[in-house]
Structure formats: C-alpha cells, structure tokens
Assembly symmetry: C4
Homo-oligomer: 247 residues x 4
C-alpha cells in the first residue's frame, strides 16, 4: 500500500481544472473548496488511500469504518469540468507529502487538466478585517492572468514559503509543465476563518467565471465577527474597570 | 525483507473466516482469539515476518531464537474453516502498520475468505462491571447481520477511531471489497481484562455459531474481580480510618 | 544505494562458516572476531555499503576517505574456509538493521555456508570474574552440537531477547533454513571487555576445532584486572578512612 | 518522486570536472562554488528534485514557486568543462543524503567526469587569521596531485569525519572508482566566512589551473575583519573600564 487510488468511476471531463482544498491554516482553503463542491453538487469519483495518512479508521453514524483518505469529486460548470481534491488529511511525513502531491499531479495530468488551483490560508498573526487573497504561481503568465481577478502578489511572499499539499502540488505542477497557482486567504492563523474562505472563494469564482451562493460562509463569518466584538468589549470593560479600581 | 510470509503448508480451506487477535488495549482481542484458537486445536500454517516488527529475536525454553512475527493458524468448525491471525507484535511505525495490514488482507483474499473479524478492546477509563461489545463494520448490511448477536453500535463511536491492526485490517478490507467487522470489548484500559475478553468471545461465538468452553477466561475474570474488591475494601477502610483520626 | 556490495574478488570457499563480529555490548563479539581474523591472516574480499549506516566518511592516516561499511574477509583453516563479517557499524534504524541482516544471510547463502555464528556480549550489570559463554540457536540440534564445547544455555535467556545484527542474522538464518548460533560472552556492559572476548573466542575455537594464540586479549584482560583491583582498593581505602573519621 | 532530474538541456562536455558547493559549515564551500560559477558565466542545465528535500516551495520576486532543489551548471575553461552542483538544500534525512549523493555521482559518471571536488568548511571553534585548506581524498595519488597546490593534509583529520554531501559524494565516488577530493577551508564555524571561502577558491583555482577575480569575496572578508576588530576593541574597552571601576 504505497498509494491506492480507487476509482468509483472514471468520468469523461471537458477541459478540467483541479481545485485542491485540504486542511491547513485556518482551514481557509478546505472550507472554500468544500463549499464550492457542495454548491455545484460535485460527485465523488475516486478515493486516494496512502500509508502516509494516519494509521487508523474513523466511523460514521452507521459505525461504518473509513480509512483516512483524500477524495476526488467532479462537477460541470458550463463548457467545462472541475475536479476537487477534498479530505481531512495530509501526509504525516515529509516523504509522504511529496508522494501524495506527485500522485495528485499525475492523476490531474491523466485527465489533461489545463490548470491547477491550490487553496490555503496565509497566517499573519493578527485578526484581519478585510482579508486579501495572495497568490503564488507556476509562471509569470499565470500571474498576469489571475492578477486582474483581485489576487495580490507581494514579491517573495510568503517569505517562509508554502508548506504541505498546497505548496508541493504547485511546485510539482511547475516541474511537470502544468499551469498552477496557489491562492491564500489572509487569516489570523488562530481560528477557523470563514471570512477569509469567502474572500478566497469569490476570487476563485471570478477566475473560473462562475458564481455560487456564499451565504453559509458569510453567515458564519458574521457570527464570528459578533463573537469577536463581544470578546473585545469584555476585554475593554475589564481593562477600564481595572484602571478605575487602581485610581 | 519487506515482508516475508513463510508457509509451513498451504491448507485447503472451506469458506474461511479470518479472526485477528493481536495485542492491544487490555489485550482483550488477543486473549479472546488465543483462547478460541487453542480450544479449537488450531494449527499454524504460516509465519509473517517484517522489517516493521521490533529488530530483535526472543528465545524459547530451548534457547531457540524467534524473530518477532505474526502467525496464521487454521481450524475446522462444522462446514467451514477459521483462520486466526495471532502474535505478540504490531508494526512499530505507521507505514509498517499499513504494510502489514495490507499483507494480511491480501493473504485473506488469496484464501477467498468470506468475512474478517478483528478483535480489540475499547478503553473507557473506568472499571466496567458488565462490559458491552461494540462494533464497527465495513458496511451497513454487516451491521445488521451482527447486531442481533449482541453487538452494540453507538453512532460515530469510538470517536477517536480505531488505531492499529484492528482498524487498518477493517479499513483495508472495506477498500478491497471484503466484508469485515471490528468487535471491541469495553475495558478500563488499565489492566489486562479477561472479563471483557470473555464477553467478546461469547459474542463472536454467537456470530460464528460455535461454542467452546470459556472456563479459563471466566476463572481469571473471577480472580480479578476478587482482587479488585479487596483493593476497594482496603481503600475504603483507609479512608474511614483517616476520617476517624481527624474526628 | 539500498545496499551496495562490492566484491574485490569472489573467492572459492570450501564448506564455509560465517562468523559475525560487529560492535555491540562490551565489544565482546567484535574483539573476538577481529582477533581471530587477524591471527588467521584473513583477507578482505568484499565491502557492504548501505544507506542505513551513518551518513559520513572517516579518514585514514593518508586522509583517504572511507564510507561507513561492513567488510567480509575469508581465511582457510584445514579443510574448510571461514568468512568473517567485521566492521565498525550497525544499521542506524530498525528497518536498516533488518535490511543489512538479510543482505548478509543472502550473501552467506550464495557461498553455501553450512553454519553461521554471531558473536556478542551479554550484559549483566556487574563485573564478572569468570565469564560464561551463553548460547542461542536456530534449532535444538544446533544446541546439542555446541553445548559440549562449553556453551551455557539458560532457558529463555537473554530474557530481553537479542537485539541488532547478532540477533537478526540468527533469526533470519533460521527463517531461511541455515544452521546458526549466537554466542554471547558475559560482561558487565560498562567497559570494553577483553576477558569476556577471550572466553568467547576459546569456545568458538573449540566448536570450529581450531587454535590461535590469544595472548593479546589475555594481556589486555590482565591489565584491566589490575586496573579494576586498584580502583577497588582505592574505593575501600576511602570507605575505611571515611568510617574512621566518623568514629 | 524518489528523485526527479529534469534536464533543460544535456550539454556535450569535454573532460569535465564536477565541483560540489552545497550549504555547510560557514557556507565556505557554497560561497566559493557560487562565486566561481558566476565568474565563469556558468549555465544551468539540470535541476535535481527529491522527496528528501524540505516539503515546501519558496517564492521568487514574481511569486513564482520553486520546489527545493539542487542545480547543475556547466562552464567552459580552456580545453575542458566544469560542472557545478549548487543549491540551498541538503537531504533532510540520513537516507536522503545517501540517496542524493549517489544520484549526483551517477550523473557525474554519465558525463564521464575525470574528477570530483567537494567543497566545505572545517570548523575549529575559534576565529582563524590565515585559514588553511585541508584535504581528504579518494586515493593516495589524488593526495599527491593536490598537495602541491597548497592543500594541507593532517593524518586522520577531520577526526569526526566529513558529514553530508561533501563527505558522501567523496566516499561514493571512491566506491565507484572516480577520483575525488574534498577541500575544506578552516573556519570558526560561527559565522558565514568569506575569507575561508577565498582561500579555498584560490587553492581550487590552482588545482584546476584557472583564474577568476575574487574581489567580492575579498571585500566581504575585509568588512568582516573590520567588524571583528571593532567587536574586539569594544570588548577590551569594556574589560579595562570594568577593571578601572573596581580599582
């Protein structure tokens, strides 16, 4: 069991684009990809199992056991198809992450994808009011193509590079000659961040020229804003009270 | 030496069922499988060696050296045969556990097993008077089949999933299309637990429609109950004495 | 570079026996094997390199660089040949130790060795006046064969098993049907122990019906005895002085 | 993705010599090799990617993503060609370092290199005024050949051996019958050391009978000397002042 890819079916896909949304900083990428796949009624067509995932099974409500895996879904939008790489796991070792990322790029190549977008979060250590979407690309032409859809490029950033599936799938795509970009929603890095996910999804939809309802993400985002405001008020009250007590 | 499987013989087996009983929480699964294999006079037919077992040999009473290994036994019951996977070791790395679990499922498939049962313990952190036997399955139909034999299903439980051989053999069986279930005896998780083993074994025997004497397990269970009662008494006496002293 | 075995020559060997003497507890096995190989003017015929040895080179007096390796030597004694496995390294991971041990057994099999002896120390945590030589074997007949040469067999001992090359080569030999034994000189486990090495070597020579001068080992052993006596005296003097002071 | 070697082109090279300059102690080897490659207008012809490099991408000023890699350059000097192995990474595990070193030696062999020079630093724990260049070699004849160009050989040194790419490429070259030497500039081991790099480069140029301007290295070296002098002065002033205060 290096990797086992089990195809439930092997769909015919027209000019497909692969979108990766695995867990990561603030789960920004995962939530955006999951949301889009759900709204487009994407169908699962394959599971990727690997000895590099955690060595256990998890159980659903019927107590049916599921090996840790990544899943591939497809959906039609207009003249073309999207492939989604979704799941709850990344490889647990450096070697495993390389192995899985190359497996995914090879699967994408076998479907003749024209582009790959990997989605992630960009942790900046502080709460962001209006999160930007930063980009990293496989080529300068890819940069020009997506810049006009609101992707921000900061030379050399993220300075620490991009780790894990989002980075490696982008990097291996470039080595293998596939156009690719990584889109990263700014986020504090401390919480799951639906606001950043929403911003990321809107940029991705603009690039792909499609539109789905983002209401759930927006609603969760409003709830978090409220929660954050209350926390802030409480902190300020305490802080004033404390000064008053001293005075 | 990825894995080396050495067959002492390759038996003809009728409609076999594989039962896994490797070490784990409270050794609940191991004791149940060892007991059943012994009572059925199961015969060893193969050893599985692996570079993922601990790198040493142990010695028997003749000072003959034995590599760490897993062993396969077979036994006849009525119209069919059972295969037992027994041993003192699980793989020492995550990769090794996947590797070994897949090896076992492939061996099982080569004998056209109709079902696989993996046996384990379910640690709940407190002493259990009447341990239940919880189940996890490869399919809903498998759940319905074994539920009537006294297996308890709690949606989504164990919440932490099932780690190691019991979980992976179940998960890989499902991926490879083999009916499988994991049966877990409730246990504190602190001691070797013959009572839980006995409960597990009785459920397994009901499922497999067979019956062996469980007296040794029951006797060890009674001894542990006595021991636990004494510990409890002593703790209570001390506790009273202490209060008296204060008063 | 899984393993690379480089043959300087491939000797014709008559009924060869392989003797393993790699570093281990008290270097008991290594010193015995090195000493015997030297006295028999054994010639090197192959090097075993491996990615499981430490990732560096060491330098000789000409500053020529040497990768960590194991070396194979051969020597003639009467009607037969000996193969020596010597070196300064064992594999640095569990997987690597299995890999190398299997490589060695396969090389031995390619020369149709009739027996394999692995040499080691048996650490007992206290200084030993007259170290015994303990044995572990691949079969009961092997036990009977070497018992009469002064090998001590204690049922089930060493209780902790035999780790590393000595244990794995013995264990894999057994799996592959080659007669083998591990001979272990008793030793404190705290120092390099030439006395235990000498005892081990004498037993091995009796088994192999050969005889070489052990003077260097004996001389080093006498020096260590003297050194230990002095340490003991000093400790006792201090201890008496201390009591006198109190009194 | 064990290793992937991507050739941008496969140049015809005349009697090539490979020069390795990867990161290491004081970056002495890397700076010397980078400087020489730049001055000779070396051209990149291949990238070596590996699952043993860190699992991430870094970004250039266009936000184009680059997998961690090693790079091969070539340059002509007179009648022959040089190959440079440059980069910012070494393998992150022992196995990975072996794997990459063997890959490089195999690539070198495929170009029929006549010699390999690996460049590094030799950390001595104290600031060096006039750093020597120490050598380690694949053979005594190689030692004689480079000794006259100012390489110092100290029997058995470095005592701790040579770790990483410089050591392993030298060691594997020797095993595979390719003449090789490791040249090590003495350095404190605490700072990046352009002075040691300059000394190393001058020795290498003498061996290869070529000459490039070393002004940048020399200038950086002068700046570091000045900086070190100032630090020293300040420390001495403080130290005197302190004594005065006490007096």
């Amino acid at each position: 069991m290096g990797n086992i890819v089990i195809y439930e079916k092997r769909p015919d896909l027209r000019d497909p684009v692969l979108i990766e949304g695995l867990p990561g900083v603030g789960n920004v990428g995962k939530m955006a990809a999951d949301h889009l796949a759900e709204k487009l009624n994407a169908e699962r067509f394959a599971n990727v199992f690997s000895r590099y995932f955690p060595p256990h099974v998890t159980l659903d409500s019927d107590c049916v056991a599921h090996l840790a895996c990544n899943e591939l879904y497809h959906a039609s939008v207009g003249e073309r198809d999207l492939i989604f790489l979704l799941g709850n796991h990344q490889g647990i070792t450096a070697e495993g992450q390389f192995d899985l990322a190359e497996e995914i790029v090879d699967i994408a190549a076998s479907f003749s994808v024209s582009k790959i977008f990997t989605l992630g979060g960009y942790g900046i250590g502080t709460v962001v009011e209006g999160p930007r979407v930063l980009g990293a690309v496989s080529s300068v032409s890819m940069k020009h193509e997506i810049e006009k859809h609101g992707v921000t490029f900061i030379p050399g950033e993220p300075n620490a590079g991009i780790a894990g599936a989002s980075g490696l799938i982008l990097g291996i795509s470039r080595v293998k000659g596939i156009d690719a970009a990584c889109l990263m929603g700014e986020t504090s890095g401390y919480f799951v961040d639906p606001k950043s996910s929403g911003a990321l999804l809107r940029v991705l939809m603009s690039i792909l020229d499609l539109n789905v309802d983002t209401e759930e993400l927006d609603e969760r985002s409003r709830q978090m804003d409220e929660f954050n405001s209350k926390i802030k008020e409480m902190t300020e009250d305490q802080s004033k009270g404390h000064l008053g007590y001293i005075g």
